[in-house]
Amino acid sequence: MTYLDMSREHATELLERMVLIRRFEEKCAEQYSAGKIRGFLHLYVGEEAVAVGALASLRPDDNVVATYREHGHALIRGISPSAVMAEMYGKATGCARGRGGSMHLFSDAGRLFGGNAIVAGGLPIACGLALADLMSKREAVTACFFGDGATDEGAYHEALNLASLWKLPVLFLCENNLYAMGTALERHAAETDLTRIPAAHRIPSEAVDGMDVAAIERTVRYAADLVRDGAGPRFLELRTYRFRAHSMYDAERYRSKDEVAKWMERDPITMFERRLRQQGLIDDTLISQIEERVANVVAAAVDAAEEAPLEPVSNLCRDLYARAPT
């Protein structure tokens, strides 16, 4: 294991963010079973290093586009855990006033543009956000997250071509967790090295260990800086794994317990923790402090969500239009 060139402060922050996502989602699963959360709930457990590492390298005025598996991205982009939890509770204090639920978290302030439940639906939008920055001469990056399954969709390929042709400042971040729902990568994609197709569109492409938060941060920073400087789009494949079911409705018939167990040995949180310990950046006290802080935050989010009011039904049609038709 290579030496980690990182301040204790920063390392703790990365760790705490991953722990926050993990504990937050464990609580979501609990609340789902309790019937407090409904609809589709897609957990990011096992993949936390991706959002945490990648978003640590972005700036506030960069844009983020994510999928329906975006609790982590939302929390890191500044939506408060209470607002996310309240959203899943369908409450008026939710970040989308209870209209979006788990799959549709947005933050105007955090420049998080979804929360898109159409696989690959966010890719063209990311191109447009990047185009707006380019035309407005803003030095911003649009980070676009999507799964391995999204690479099957036509919209993905159209977006790659458009971004490459117009040199749009898009950073494509493929969260390759080896499955699209129940379909393994090798059964949905003819080429399982996901860097090859972007490369064929002349987009510089690289694969990264999606379980190594430090490597992700470093690689994304390098790529994002190039994109920001006008080098055109770049593509990173983040090789990761989801430890939980696809959603709460999934019997996981398509993969073996062994396979899951093997990947769990590479738990991004445990691995990072171990590394920080080895370098003496962290100890049991610090870890329990983190866990305590996170537990408090999550508990507070649940409490707030429980107590929050429902959006009045009279507001149902509010915000359908910015300029209401007369």
Partner: protein, 329 residues
């Protein structure tokens, strides 16, 4: 086997199984229909039973695999394509409109597209704006397509079998809230004439016209109305293209009043077409303006109370029925 209790899901599965067993040209393909067992577990177990040639998992490429269904049908197969939900069918709608529906006519009758496309439709499970659409009326608008929407357990099986038997492209809409509904399934019964509407309950005071996921709501509303002394007839359209005007008009000619229940957004809904079509064909039979119970025109929200406020409900149907009835006193 004679009639037994089964779910709508099991009935669809039974139809698919039978169609595949009866004809070597029939196969099922779609996202996660195999190992996963189908997003709504409709095809659970079929991969093991029928093998990977006949139960094919596709990539996440709606345009390609729906188009491949068109091509396979042109090539002599009888594909059943599952598009997970009507929401995602928008990514393949070009293939359905511009190829499946058009090829026979625009080739001067040379080509046949015996394709079945099944998809889940509707809202009610708090899946929010992008997973709660009802676009039945869009498909019912397209000449060259036939459109079925089973609202009962028996019809769920029969629609699959009727669609596979048909030489034309057929879209079958299965409402996602119906999959767990239990009912009677006679798996030996001959395939019903699902190409025509069914009068589920006869009545004299008004006609409730509905289909698919709104059928149970209409039946519940009918029961409630009967307890108030209003006696509705319930017409389940079953086939949305072509529409069975004969059955609809016959009923309205008896009752002179109509309420249409349709989960689509009101403006541009199938319910609108039913009203306009009845006006075309039986204007002078109507004793009151028909009512439409549709979804409120807003992106369907996640929160339960908001979603409930959007969708047709038993109480809204009852209210609409009261409205078309003559004022008492």
């Amino acid at each position: 086997m004679t009639a037994a209790t089964a779910t709508y899901r099991e009935a669809v599965r039974s139809g698919i199984r039978r169609a595949i067993q009866q004809d070597t040209r029939v196969f099922l393909m779609g996202e996660d229909v195999g190992r996963y067992g189908g997003a709504f577990a409709v095809s659970a177990g079929l991969l093991e039973e029928l093998g990977p040639e006949r139960i094919r998992d596709t990539p996440l490429s709606e345009s390609a695999f729906v188009g491949a269904g068109v091509g396979a049908a042109l090539g002599g197969m009888r594909p059943i394509v599952e598009v997970m939900t009507v929401n995602f069918s928008l990514l393949a709608i070009d293939q359905l409109v511009n190829s499946a529906a058009a090829l026979r006519h625009m080739s001067g009758g040379q080509l046949s597209v015996p394709l079945v496309v099944r998809m889940a439709t509707g809202a009610g499970r708090q899946l929010a704006a992008q997973h709660s659409h009802s676009f039945e009326n869009w498909y019912a608008h397209v000449p060259g397509l036939k459109v079925l929407a089973p609202g009962t357990v028996q019809d769920a099986r029969d629609c699959v079998l009727a669609a596979v038997d048909d030489p034309d492209p057929v879209i079958v809409f299965e409402h996602q809230l119906l999959y767990n509904v239990q009912g009677t399934l006679d798996d030996d019964a001959p395939v019903a004439d699902v190409w025509h509407a069914a009068v589920l309950e006869t009545g004299t005071d008004l006609t409730l016209v509905t289909y698919g996921g709104s059928v149970p709501k209409a039946l519940a509303a009918a029961a409630a109305l009967r307890s108030e002394g209003i006696n509705p007839e319930v017409v389940d359209l079953r086939c949305l293209r072509p529409l069975d005007w004969q059955t609809i008009i016959a009923s309205v000619t008896r009752t002179h009043r109509m309420v249409v229940v349709d989960e689509g957004w009101k403006t541009g809904s199938l319910a609108g077409e039913i009203v306009a079509g009845v006006v075309d064909r039986g204007f002078y039979e109507l004793d009151a303006a028909p009512e439409r119970v549709c979804s409120v025109e807003v992106a369907v929200p996640y929160a339960k109370h908001l979603e409930d406020a959007v969708l047709p409900s038993v109480s809204r149907i009852v209210e609409a029925a009261r409205k078309v009835m003559p004022r008492h006193g």
